[in-house]
């Protein structure tokens, strides 16, 4: 555990799909299936304490349709924002080209944004965000973390930085006040 005060969790959506719905299903299609997978993830997160950071891994999912992207990505994010007892952060892995359109579309539709690994080791900010948020996120992503004392210098658009933290696209350490790029906190997970 670092100064962020949490241990990231790795959730393999392919495994959740087979374990939760049925081992016969190999694709993330239909809203009913997506809802079941999302609920299984939410149950898993209930035991994660007051704060959690989850790597939602879609690498083993071959097909994800819009209905499932809405349930498993957008509604998972939206639901987590509504919790008063749990502060959940998410990074999505395995958002390769065939998944990207579905995920970007559902995020845009609900006015959400998410950090996603689009190629191995490459992270992007997907969904709806301002230019300022995108610039500050990219700078933070390049640095990995920024000390509280360096905020105005290295990340000059403080309003955008606050929005990134508020939208849980970056994480502020409750101990040191550092701002962490989410990708750096999950990249060791397999």
């Amino acid at each position: 555990m670092t100064d962020v005060g949490l241990d990231p969790i790795w959730i393999d959506v392919g495994q959740v799909l087979q374990r939760t719905v049925t081992s016969l299903y190999s694709h993330l299609v239909t809203r009913q299936t997506g809802r079941a997978v999302r609920m299984a993830i939410e149950i898993q997160l209930r035991t994660a304490g007051e704060r959690s950071l989850s790597l939602i891994d879609l690498s083993e999912v071959v097909i994800i349709d819009f209905s499932c992207a809405d349930e498993v990505v957008a509604q998972l994010l939206e639901g987590s924002r509504q919790s008063r007892t749990h502060e959940a952060f998410f990074v999505f892995r395995g958002v390769h080209e065939p998944h990207r359109d579905q995920i970007e579309t559902v995020l845009e539709r609900r006015g959400l944004a998410a950090v996603a690994e689009t190629d191995p080791g490459t992270y992007q900010l997907l969904g709806r965000h301002t230019d300022g948020e995108a610039r500050m996120w990219a700078e933070l992503e390049q640095r990995g973390l920024v000390e509280a004392a360096e905020l105005g210098t290295l990340l000059p658009d403080l309003e955008a930085v606050e929005l990134l933290v508020e939208r849980r696209l970056a994480l502020r350490s409750p101990i040191s006040g550092r701002i962490h790029a989410l990708s750096r906190l999950v990249r060791h997970l397999h």
Binding site: H27, I63, I64, D65, F66, P98, V106, R110
Partner: protein
């Protein structure tokens, strides 16, 4: 007995007139006379099942289907799984054994869609051949099979979520040598449910007042992405299907009730909106995806 002649060519161009004929047929036993059927595409095959189901509702018993005389058509219907699907719809003679299925461009045999599990089954089966056919016949990249599967999944879910009645899906590749000079994939998804007007009525009809009808319901769903669900994240299926079909320069049309709405590319002379047809239950969706130019 009502005798309904099945046209010699039953496809996306002739299916509406055929449905109109079924819609105005009198009550009483119906015979679908398909003896002179020479050409049928997925819209024709799935449309026959829909027409038979509608006729059965009217007469309270299975209609009879007189089989095509053409052995080519019989063989094709057999390969597409038509006779298996028709067992619960028509009373018909044994079409006989058609011999082993030869290599064909069938992407998806006629598949009943009534529940979630059926969509999963259809998507699984699609993976067996779709990649090869989309690449070799349409010149699409290998990854297109994912987008194709997404389209099919969304369009099938339309049946489960809105129709509240069963339906069918089928897809096949053809060489439209004379019509377009290219291969196309034809996807047909049809149901006999409550249609768009019925599905959207409770939520949206008041806003439209006297103008509410099949045409306005189709426009609301097809052009504006309205659904019966209050959740703003819903209703993306048809919008996203339209977007992907446009990217591939394809055509999509939906008939529901008395109207058909469409998004048609330059190569297709289908009008974007047709109304004033005979009232017909459910929704009937046709998607045509052409090969990339030069393929």
């Amino acid at each position: 007995m009502n005798v309904l002649p099945v046209p010699g060519s039953l496809d996306h161009q002739t299916i509406d007139a055929f449905f109109d004929l079924v819609a105005i047929s009198k009550e009483g036993r119906t015979l679908f006379d398909a003896r002179h059927l020479r050409w049928v595409d997925p819209n024709g095959m799935v449309g026959l099942l829909v027409a038979g189901t509608v006729a059965a509702r009217k007469q309270g018993a299975m209609p009879r289907l007189e089989l095509p005389e053409s052995t080519d058509v019989l063989g094709y219907l057999s390969r597409m799984g038509f006779f298996e699907a028709a067992k619960g719809v028509f009373e018909l003679d044994d079409p006989g054994r058609r011999g082993p299925a030869r290599a064909s461009d069938v992407l998806l045999e006629i598949t009943p869609i009534a529940a979630n599990v059926d969509v999963h089954g259809a998507i699984d089966r699609l993976q067996e051949k779709a990649g090869a056919i989309l690449t070799s016949r349409l010149g699409y990249p290998a990854s297109a099979v994912v987008q194709f599967s997404v389209i099919l999944s969304e369009v099938c879910q339309n049946i489960i979520e809105h129709a509240e009645a069963p339906g069918w899906v089928a897809a096949q590749a053809y060489n439209w040598a004379r019509r377009l000079g290219r291969y196309v994939v034809v996807i047909s998804v049809m149901d006999v449910g409550r249609g768009f007007r019925g599905s959207l009525g409770d939520e949206h009809s008041a806003r439209y007042g006297d103008r509410w009808g099949d045409t306005t319901a189709l426009e609301a769903a097809f052009l504006h992405g309205l659904t019966r669900f209050p959740d703003s994240g819903r209703g993306q299926g048809i919008q996203q299907i339209r977007k992907q079909v446009r990217r591939w320069d394809g055509a999509i049309t939906i008939r529901s009730g008395t109207a058909r709405i469409g998004q048609v590319p330059e190569w297709d002379d289908t009008p974007p909106l047709v109304d004033g047809m005979q009232p017909f239950p459910g929704a009937q969706i046709s998607i045509i995806l052409p090969a990339k130019s030069g393929s």
